[in-house]
């Protein structure tokens, strides 16, 4: 599913690893900066000085824009800051990729999106209030949850979580972890990768493999 071969950048020297389809993996980095660099390298945003990156058995840095976009449609990434678009309302943020790629109307996925958010412990009146607002003032854990729901609606084969449990209260963290584990088990062959410099924050996740950089 993910394969890095001899990756060399400022931070990594000859880094190689492979993550099998359908598995749950943790990657423990040494710092936030290294975390971001690794994520960027995997997602084709930052070409390494040396080495090759494969996603879904395709070499990321040799793909055309269109081919890479097709890979991204199958990949959900939940970023540490939520990765929400600041000038779109919360609701528009959640439905943007589904609307853009599948052509489904935003109302078609409303029920699914609301269910996911309720599973995450959000009450309906808060949701109603939040949906028409811009995401800027929201607390970071809500931004991450919204980022998760946005990715989940695309039903991806690969989910990458970028330090999403860091700084959360134990209850919040537990609920969010359960949510990601449930999501992982919903589709056969789905791969989940948790990348973080804070090993403690992903302690509660049952993994198939752990990689410490």
């Amino acid at each position: 599913m993910i394969r890095l071969e001899n990756i060399t950048t400022e931070d990594f020297n000859d880094l190689s690893f492979r993550i099998q389809e359908g598995s749950v993996h943790k990657i423990i980095t040494n710092s936030d900066y290294e975390n971001k660099r690794l994520l960027n390298v995997i997602l084709g945003l930052e070409r390494p000085e040396h080495g090759r990156v494969f996603l879904f058995d395709k070499e990321v840095y040799s793909l055309s824009e269109e081919e890479l976009n097709r890979i991204f449609v199958r990949t959900g990434t939940v970023l540490k800051d939520g990765g929400l678009i600041s000038n779109l309302k919360v609701w528009e943020n959640i439905v943007l990729p589904v609307w853009y790629h599948s052509g489904k109307k935003p109302t078609d996925v409303e029920e699914k999106a609301v269910q996911r958010l309720r599973d995450a412990g959000m009450d309906i009146s808060h949701l109603e209030e939040m949906m028409g607002e811009l995401p800027g003032p929201l607390p970071v854990h809500e931004k991450r949850l919204l980022g998760f729901v946005r990715s989940a609606l695309m039903d991806p084969d690969l989910m990458i979580y970028d330090s999403v449990f860091e700084g959360l209260s134990p209850e919040m963290s537990e609920r969010f972890i359960k949510l990601t584990e449930k999501f992982h088990s919903e589709k056969t062959g789905r791969t989940s990768v948790y990348i973080t410099p804070d090993e403690q924050s992903v302690k509660g996740i049952k993994e198939d493999g752990i990689l410490r950089l």
């Binding site: 960027n40 890479l68 976009n69 097709r70 600041s86 943007l96 990729p97």
Partner: protein, 256 residues
């Protein structure tokens, strides 16, 4: 020696910007069909609202004031001559001031807003967020903005001209006692299709220039928040500069 180096660097920089604007404009023209996609169209509608509809009242106010000023000056110099008033209004408002002032209003209102907005999206990694959702940020953020601003400049120019001419004539009818219908006849006798076509062509060119420059400058911000005001300043100054240059070129070609 140092100043020669500085001039050389400035020329290379300017050439780089012009190449960037040209490439972005070509990309826009090549991918204009993207506006058929609902999510991109929704960005276009928002841009039309912010740049076009929200500016209507300001454009109308400035248009009426300009119309009043021009007609008052004409009456002071040449007396209440309906044909002359018509001709001067057409020469100034339709041929020159309409497209130029509408463009300047858009540069001041939306050029800065767009370059700052795009710049802050770049600093906050929102372009990368779009990228990893499989959405090309240029397609989603720039194409509808260029279309929205261009259409807005086109419509606002037309609106400015109507309010300037009608407002000016209405003012002179009420306060100077000139017959409104006689002045309208003067306008129509001086107005030809050619003037209208050139004026609207100017507004289209200005719209494309302003939107391309503003989007390019905003999107060229990399990682630092201090780059945002610099990009906004460059967007305004370069848009103004290019609008005046192209205004001169089109006027020379059309009316010389």
């Amino acid at each position: 020696m140092i100043s020669a180096l500085k001039i050389g660097r400035s020329i290379i920089k300017a050439f780089g910007y012009l190449t960037g604007y040209y490439n972005l404009l070509c990309y826009f023209i090549k991918n204009i069909s993207l506006l058929g996609r609902a999510p991109i169209r929704s960005v276009l509608y928002k841009q039309l609202y912010f740049t076009g509809i929200e500016a209507l009242s300001k454009v109308a106010a400035i248009g009426i004031l300009i119309g009043i000023v021009i007609i008052t000056q004409v009456i002071n110099i040449a007396g209440a001559n309906a044909v002359l008033i018509g001709k001067i209004l057409i020469w100034t408002v339709v041929r020159e001031l309409g497209p130029l002032l509408a463009a300047i209003i858009i540069i001041a209102r939306s050029g800065t807003a767009i370059s700052s907005e795009l710049g802050s999206m770049k600093v906050n990694n929102e372009a990368d967020s779009l990228r990893i959702m499989g959405i090309d940020p240029v397609d989603y953020l720039l194409v509808p903005r260029i279309a929205g601003i261009t259409i807005s400049v086109f419509i606002l120019t037309f609106y400015f001209q109507i309010t300037a001419v009608a407002g000016g004539l209405a003012f002179t009818s009420v306060f100077k006692g000139l017959p409104f219908l006689q002045n309208i006849k003067g306008i129509f006798s001086a107005l030809g299709l050619f003037e209208v076509v050139v004026s609207l062509a100017k507004s289209l060119v200005f719209g494309l220039l302003i939107s391309t420059v503003s989007c390019y400058q905003g999107f060229s911000v990399e990682a630092s928040i201090t780059e945002i005001p610099q990009a906004a300043t460059r967007a305004v100054m370069q848009s103004l500069f290019l609008v005046f240059i192209f205004d001169g070129i089109i006027t020379l070609i059309s009316f010389a």
